[in-house]
Each structure stands twice: as C-alpha cells, then as structure tokens.
Symmetry: C2
Subunit: 190 residues, 2 copies
C-alpha cells in the first residue's frame, strides 16, 4: 500500500526507511466511488489528494449552470484547490472522482507535521507545484493561440491515456469547446 | 540592498544573519531599462526574477503576430517561465521590463546551491508557487465565467496599483479583450 506515492516522491528526493514510514503515517487511504465528491463549492479545502488508482477532476459551475472542468488528475498526480488551502476561504471549485479511485489524503495539518519531520519534503512539493504552474502558463498560451483542433491534438499528444478514460463532455469543457465540436474532430481523425 | 527580498522571505520562514548573507550571495542585482528583455521566445530560461522595484511582464506572440500578456510582476513578485526552468527546453514566452526596474536574478544553479545551504528555503518557494498556481486556477474560472466588465472590476479590486502603471493594451490582452473595449469600460466607470 502507498508504494505509488513513495516511488513518486523518490523521483525527486531520497528517502530512508524511517522517512518512508513517517510519510505513510501522515496520509490516509480513501476509496472513493465514481461521481463522489472530495470537495464542493463553498466548502473549505483542507487537504491535497494524491491519485494511487483512478481519476479525479476539478471543475466549477458557471453562473449559467454549466460545468467546466479545469483540471484532471490520473495516477501519480496531486490535486487540490491550492488557493483555499492557503487562505482557508470557501472554495470556488468541486473535486469529483470520475472513476472508482484509490486516493491518499494529506491534510494541511499533516502536511505541516511532515514538513517538520522531513523538511526536505518541501523540495518535492516545490517541484510538483513548479511543474503544475509551468504547465498552466503554457495552457494559457495554447488556449489563446491554438485552433480548437490543434488544442485537441496537442492534448492527445501529451496525455493519450485520458481520451478513453474521461467522458467526452468533460474533455470538451476542459479544452473549451462543446461536446458536439469534440465529436466532430474525433470523427475527422478516424 | 536586497532587504526587500529578505523581508519577503521572512514572511514565510525565519532567517538568521548567516542565512541572510548566504541568500544575498546567491542572487545578482540587475538594473534593467523599460522595454528591455530578460527572456525571449526560443531561449532557454535559466533564472527566476524577483522584482525589487519596477514592473515586469511575461507575454507570448500568437501565430497571428499579436502580443498576449499572461503574467505581470510588481514589487515582491517572482516571475519566470517555470516549465522551461525544469525542462531546459526553449521557452514559448518573453519576459520584459515595462518600467525601469531593479531585479534580483536567481539562476537555477544558484537556487540549487541555496537549497543545499538553507534547505528550508524550499518551503518559501513551495508556498510562493502554491499561491501562484492557486491564483491561476481561479483565473481560469474567471476567464470562463465572468463578463468582460466583471473581469476588469475583479482585477481592479485585486490589484488597483496596476491600472496606472501598466499600458492599457497590455492590461487588455491580459484580461483577454481589445484595448478599445477596455477604454470603453474605463470611460463608463468615470
């Protein structure tokens, strides 16, 4: 159990046996069924979620009532509402499982404990966040610059594993177009 | 000199006198004139930039040749192309001064030195990146959800200091509309 997380951390920093035990003592395992929520709009986000198996998405509901997916997380990805984790203000987002998923929960309190016991864990989280923030800078450019078809091709190239696991309407909203348009592009490809 | 950076770091972690000296030895001061560049598309980004005085922007040039600003940085803000810092692939972005600016340059190599000498500095950078990434998650929601006028009002509420320092066409491209439209909204407000 949780060897996934330890392997992921060891890509970035070294860990001895005692440190591995400390990390496992700081996270909680959670099995969550498809469509269940880890966070809803208006709640205060109190944890980061690491996907051991399955898939999560983060989305918001527009004033018109439409759902827009802004992030996905497959195996080995962390997901959270990082702003409200810091501010402890009510979240603007939902986090939901889109498959039956095995999740590791790291609460803000436990992250602080971990940070005191294993200070170098901060390096791991810094690098994870740097990668995520860098990807979001690039996504802004693509959103403005690429045609909708190129957006889809680019996403497919980066994350081929998503396309068969994520419902079309969620992928469409992530890429910023309608499910009908996505369906057209996919047909063209075939 | 550089007390700005030390004060900023000390909002997040404690530093003794020796650690302060180590930090100052790891950064280089740079005076950069308005319109000069710290990074151009195609170059490999080798540093993060901290604004002591002045203002930077990060932008990209679309395939049609238009400039789109995706980030600003005023006093006490860090700015970099965080993706190419990690991958060392050519950047998709430009970083430019929009006022005469005093910058502190932290190269990737010096950041590694700093990280070895003062491991807790990783906590500072983790928190800075968490804040930046959290803000970008919220920006995605606003971009989809808010009317263009509300986008402007929201930005004005968060960063009133920008409006008189940043040229209108840059602010307009950051908010995703034309300079003419921004000018209309500003007139309405008056």
């Amino acid at each position: 159990m949780s060897t996934t997380l330890l392997s992921h951390i060891k890509r970035y920093i070294e860990l001895d046996e005692q440190e591995e035990k400390t990390i496992l003592a700081c996270v909680q395992s959670l099995h969550i069924k498809k469509k269940e929520y880890l966070l809803k709009e208006g709640q205060i986000c109190k944890a980061s979620y690491f996907v051991e198996k399955g898939c999560l998405r983060m989305f918001f509901v527009s004033d018109k009532g439409d759902e827009h997916t802004n992030n996905f997380a497959l195996e080995n990805w962390w997901l959270s509402d990082y702003s409200t984790l810091l501010t402890q203000k009510p979240s603007l987002f939902y986090i939901q499982a889109i498959e039956n998923s095995d999740i590791l929960v790291l609460t803000t309190e436990q992250q602080e404990v971990l940070s005191k016991e294993i200070p170098k864990i901060e390096r791991y989280f810094r690098l994870i966040l740097q990668r995520a923030y860098g990807a979001s800078q690039i996504r802004f450019k693509h959103t403005y610059n690429l045609s909708r078809e190129d957006m889809y091709r680019n996403f497919l190239g980066l994350h081929p594993e998503f396309v068969n696991r994520v419902p079309q309407y969620m992928l469409a909203s992530y890429l910023g177009f309608t499910p009908e348009y996505l369906s057209e592009i996919r047909k063209k490809k075939i």
